[in-house]
C-alpha cells in the first residue's frame, strides 16, 4: 500500500515532451524512450495516438523524469534531436497586484494539485499548494507560492493566464491495493470492516514513518459514545493534531464533568433532570478557568478527548460558528483568523481523518494539498459528496455510523500492533539464534 506522503513524484525534475509523425514503424518513439533510459531517466507516456492507416501520423506525449536538473537537460537535448520537443515553451505571465486583498483580473486560480511555474525557462515548484488561491511569484529569488485572495498585498507579483504553468494530477493509490474497492461513487453498501482495516494501516504507517495525522472531528463522536476510541488513538500516539468546533469540545468536556452529552447520560442513555443545563454550565466552568488547558491543569477536566490532547501535547484548534453557545475561550471566533491558523497548522499533515463533521471537513479539505490522503467518515453521504465536489478528490469516503467504525478501527490497530510485535520478536529470535 502506498503510504501517505508529502513527496508526490518519484523523480523531481520532469518535462512533458511531445513527438508527432511517423514514430512507430520508424522506431523513433522506442529510440526516444531508450535514450531517456540510457541517460538514467525515467518516462511516463501520458498520451499516445497511433495512426490507423499507413499515412496517418501518430502522436505521443511523454513525461521525462530525472533526478537532477542537469540530467533532465541532457536527456532533453538528446531526444530533441529525434524530434521530441517540450510542450510548454513560454514563461508564466505576472502582473503586480494593484488592490490589497484582490488579485489582478485574469489571475491564475490554483488547484490543490502539485503545480510548477516556468520562470526564465526553468520550472519552479509552487509552495504552500492550496486550491482556489492565486500564485505569487518572486522573480529575483525564483520562488512561487499560493496566496489566498484576502492576503494579497499591493505590489506582489501575481501570476495571470495559463501560460507557463503545469499541474501534476495526483496518482491515486488504488492500484496498489489500497482503497480500490471503494473507487466508486459514494455508497452506504460497502464493507466497513475493510475500510477500518485500511485506515488502521494508514494510521500505523503514518506513525512509523514520522508523518502527522490530523483528526477533524464533529460532536457526533461524543454523542454516539465513541469519544473513548479517539482518546485511545491520542494516548497511543496516532493523532498529532485535532481540528474541531465549539461543540465537540463542549460535549466532550460535559461528558468528563457530568457524564452527559447535551444532558443525555452516555452510559445509561436517559435524560438527566436539568441535564440541558450541563452544556452551558460546562462552558461557564471552562470560561471561569480561563480555557481548556487551565481547566485540565486545575483538575476540573479529568478525562475525554480534550483532556488527552492537553496531556499528550496534541495541538488542537477550535473554530467557531455563528450558533455556538459560549463559546469556550479556546474557540477562534473570527472565521478568517481561524482559516489562517488552520492553513499554517496543516502544513506538516500527511494523513487526515475526518469524522462526522461536514463544515469542518469541507473547510480543511479546501486547505489540504491533493497529496495528503484524506478519509472522510460520515453517516450522511452528502458530507463526502460535498468534499469531492469541492475538489478534494483524494478523499476516500466511508459512509457509516461513527461508533462502529471507530470501534473497528481500534480493534484493527490492536491487531496490527500485535502482528508487528510478533514479527519484531521473530526477527530478534533469528538474530539471537
Amino acid at each position: 500500500m502506498k503510504p501517505p506522503s508529502a513527496a508526490p513524484a518519484s523523480k523531481p525534475f520532469v518535462e512533458d515532451v511531445e513527438v508527432a509523425g511517423h514514430i512507430i514503424d520508424s522506431l523513433l518513439l522506442p529510440k526516444i524512450l531508450d535514450a531517456i533510459m540510457a541517460h538514467k531517466g525515467t518516462f511516463e507516456i501520458r498520451k499516445i495516438t497511433v495512426g490507423q492507416r499507413r499515412l496517418d501520423p501518430s502522436y505521443a506525449l511523454v513525461q521525462v523524469q530525472a533526478d537532477t536538473g542537469e540530467q533532465l537537460e541532457r536527456i532533453l537535448n538528446t531526444i530533441s534531436v529525434h524530434g521530441a520537443v517540450p510542450v510548454v515553451t513560454s514563461d508564466c505571465r505576472i502582473l503586480a497586484a494593484d488592490v490589497a486583498g484582490a488579485f489582478p483580473e485574469g489571475f491564475y486560480s490554483t488547484t490543490n494539485q502539485r503545480t510548477e511555474v516556468r520562470m526564465h525557462g526553468h520550472w519552479i515548484p509552487v509552495d504552500l499548494q492550496e486550491m482556489d488561491c492565486g500564485i505569487v511569484v518572486d522573480v529575483d529569488r525564483q520562488t512561487a507560492e499560493c496566496v489566498p485572495m484576502l492576503d494579497v498585498r499591493i505590489g506582489q507579483q501575481i501570476m495571470v493566464g495559463h501560460a507557463g504553468v503545469r499541474v501534476f494530477p495526483e496518482e491515486r493509490s488504488q492500484s496498489e491495493g489500497g482503497f480500490e474497492f471503494m473507487d466508486s461513487p459514494v455508497s452506504t453498501e460497502k464493507p466497513k470492516r475493510v475500510a477500518a482495516r485500511q485506515v488502521a494501516e494508514w494510521l500505523v504507517r503514518t506513525k512509523q514513518l514520522g508523518g502527522r495525522t490530523l483528526i477533524v472531528g464533529g460532536p457526533a463522536i461524543v454523542h454516539t459514545g465513541s469519544g473513548g476510541y479517539v482518546c485511545e488513538l491520542i494516548r497511543r500516539g496516532y493523532v498529532h493534531r485535532l481540528f474541531a468546533g465549539n461543540a465537540l469540545a463542549t460535549h466532550d468536556i460535559e461528558q468528563s464533568i457530568y457524564g452527559t452529552s447535551l444532558g443525555v447520560h452516555l452510559e445509561r442513555g436517559d435524560i438527566i433532570p436539568s441535564g440541558h443545563e450541563h452544556h452551558l454550565r460546562t462552558i461557564n466552568t471552562v470560561r471561569r478557568a480561563g480555557g481548556i488547558r487551565p481547566a485540565v491543569e486545575q483538575g476540573l477536566i479529568k478525562s475525554g478527548i480534550m483532556y488527552e490532547c492537553v496531556k499528550h501535547n496534541v495541538d488542537f484548534l477550535l473554530a467557531g460558528s455563528i450558533r455556538d453557545d459560549g463559546p469556550l475561550p479556546d474557540v477562534i471566533t473570527d472565521a478568517v483568523v481561524a482559516q489562517r491558523q488552520m492553513r499554517t497548522r496543516i502544513r506538516d499533515v500527511t494523513f487526515c481523518l475526518m469524522l462526522s463533521t461536514m463544515l469542518h471537513s469541507v473547510a480543511v479539505g479546501n486547505l489540504l494539498p491533493a497529496w495528503v490522503q484524506v478519509v472522510c467518515v460520515d453517516i450522511n453521504p452528502s458530507a463526502v459528496i460535498k468534499l469531492a465536489d469541492r475538489g478534494s478528490f483524494q478523499t476516500v469516503p466511508v459512509v457509516t455510523d461513527i461508533e462502529p467504525f471507530l470501534r473497528a478501527l481500534v480493534e484493527e490497530i490492536n491487531r496490527l500492533e500485535a502482528a508487528l510485535k510478533e514479527s519484531v520478536s521473530a526477527e530478534q529470535e533469528i538474530v539471537a539464534s
Binding site: 509523425g21 511517423h22 520508424s26 522506431l27 523513433l28 501520423p57 534531436v81 529525434h82 524530434g83
Partner: protein
C-alpha cells in the same frame, strides 16, 4: 502512366570550388582542380543525356560554389518541390535560385518555416511507398515529419551517425521500389532495423567503396551511374540485372558530393512507388505539371 523522358536538374560548375569547410571532406588546403571538375561534370552530363534524360540547368552563381549540388535543391513529389532550408549559412544563399528555377519549371514550390532544416533529395529518398530520410547532421527530425505531413507520405526518419555520410544520399540509394544500395554503418541500430524491415533487397557497400561515394549514384531506368572505384558494387549491380556506369568525379568528392549530388530528378526517382503508379494525386494531392 507518365511516359515523358527522365528530367534532371543540374548546374554547371562555373563557380564550383572548396571555399569553406562544412563537412569532413572539404579541406581548403586541398582545392578542387577547376578544369578537371568541369571536364568531369561534362562527362556526367553527357552520360545522362545519352541515357535519354532531358537536362534542365540552373544558372551558376558566383559565391555559391555548392549550387552545383542540385540534389539539395528540394524534394520532388508529384508536382511539388519542398524547398530546402539549408543548415549552414554558406548554402542558404542557394535557396532563392533553386526556388526560382523550380517555379520556372512548373513545380509548386513549398517552403518550410525558417527555424527548420531540410536538405531536399540529399536527405529524403523514396523507396517504394516510404520516404526514407536522414536527420541529425543536416536535416532535422522535426522537419522531416513536417515534410511527410505536407506531401502525405509515410516517412522513415533515420539518424545518420557518421559525419562522413552527412546526407542520406551519401550512404543510401534506392534502385527500385524494393531494392537499394546502402552502407549500414552510416546508420544506428534502429535505422538499420528499419531499413531491413522495409526494403526487401539491400546491397551492402564495403567501407572502402562507401567512402568512394558509391552510394551517391544516379539511377535512370536500369542504368546506375556512379563515381569510379566501386567494382564490387558494379559486380553486384550486374548480378541484379542493372547496368552500372562509372565516370570519374574525384573533384566533386573533395567537396563531399558525387553523381547523385550533382543531379535532381524532376520527374521523381525511379524507386518512388507514386511515380510508377502514376497516381500522383494519391501522394501529393497535386497533379504533375508536365511542361
Amino acid at each position: 502512366m507518365n511516359h515523358s523522358p527522365p528530367r534532371v536538374l543540374m548546374c554547371r560548375p562555373d563557380y564550383f570550388g572548396i571555399e569553406y569547410e562544412i563537412n569532413p571532406w572539404m579541406d581548403r588546403a586541398h582545392p578542387a582542380n577547376h578544369e578537371l571538375a568541369v571536364h568531369q561534370w561534362e562527362s556526367l552530363h553527357g552520360i545522362l543525356s545519352g541515357l535519354g534524360a532531358a537536362i534542365e540547368l540552373v544558372e551558376p552563381q558566383a559565391g555559391l560554389p555548392d549550387l552545383v549540388f542540385t540534389a539539395n535543391a528540394a524534394l520532388i513529389c508529384g508536382g511539388r518541390a519542398i524547398l530546402s532550408r539549408f543548415r549552414h549559412p554558406q548554402r542558404q544563399g542557394e535557396e532563392p535560385h533553386f526556388a526560382a528555377k523550380l517555379e520556372q519549371l512548373g513545380l509548386e514550390v513549398v517552403r518550410l518555416p525558417n527555424d527548420e532544416y531540410f536538405e531536399g533529395a540529399g536527405d529524403a529518398l523514396f523507396c517504394g511507398e516510404g520516404l526514407f530520410a536522414g536527420y541529425r547532421i543536416r536535416s532535422m527530425a522535426r522537419s522531416l515529419q513536417h515534410v511527410a505531413t505536407l506531401i502525405r507520405v509515410q516517412i522513415m526518419p533515420l539518424e545518420l551517425v557518421d559525419q562522413r555520410f552527412y546526407h542520406l544520399d551519401t550512404c543510401f540509394c534506392p534502385l527500385e521500389p524494393s531494392q537499394a544500395i546502402w552502407y549500414p554503418e552510416a546508420f544506428d541500430a534502429y535505422g538499420q532495423q528499419v531499413m531491413r524491415a522495409n526494403i526487401q533487397n539491400l546491397i551492402d557497400l564495403t567501407e572502402a567503396e562507401a567512402i568512394g561515394f558509391a552510394a551517391n549514384a544516379v539511377v535512370i531506368g536500369r542504368h546506375v551511374v556512379t563515381n569510379t572505384g566501386c567494382p564490387q558494387l558494379h559486380a553486384r549491380l550486374r548480378d541484379q540485372g542493372f547496368d552500372p556506369i562509372e565516370t570519374p568525379l574525384s573533384e566533386f568528392v573533395k567537396a563531399g558530393g558525387s553523381a547523385k549530388c550533382l543531379t535532381l530528378r524532376l520527374d521523381g526517382e525511379e524507386a518512388a512507388a507514386w511515380k510508377r503508379s502514376g497516381d500522383h494525386e494519391a501522394v501529393s494531392g497535386i497533379r504533375f505539371i508536365d511542361k
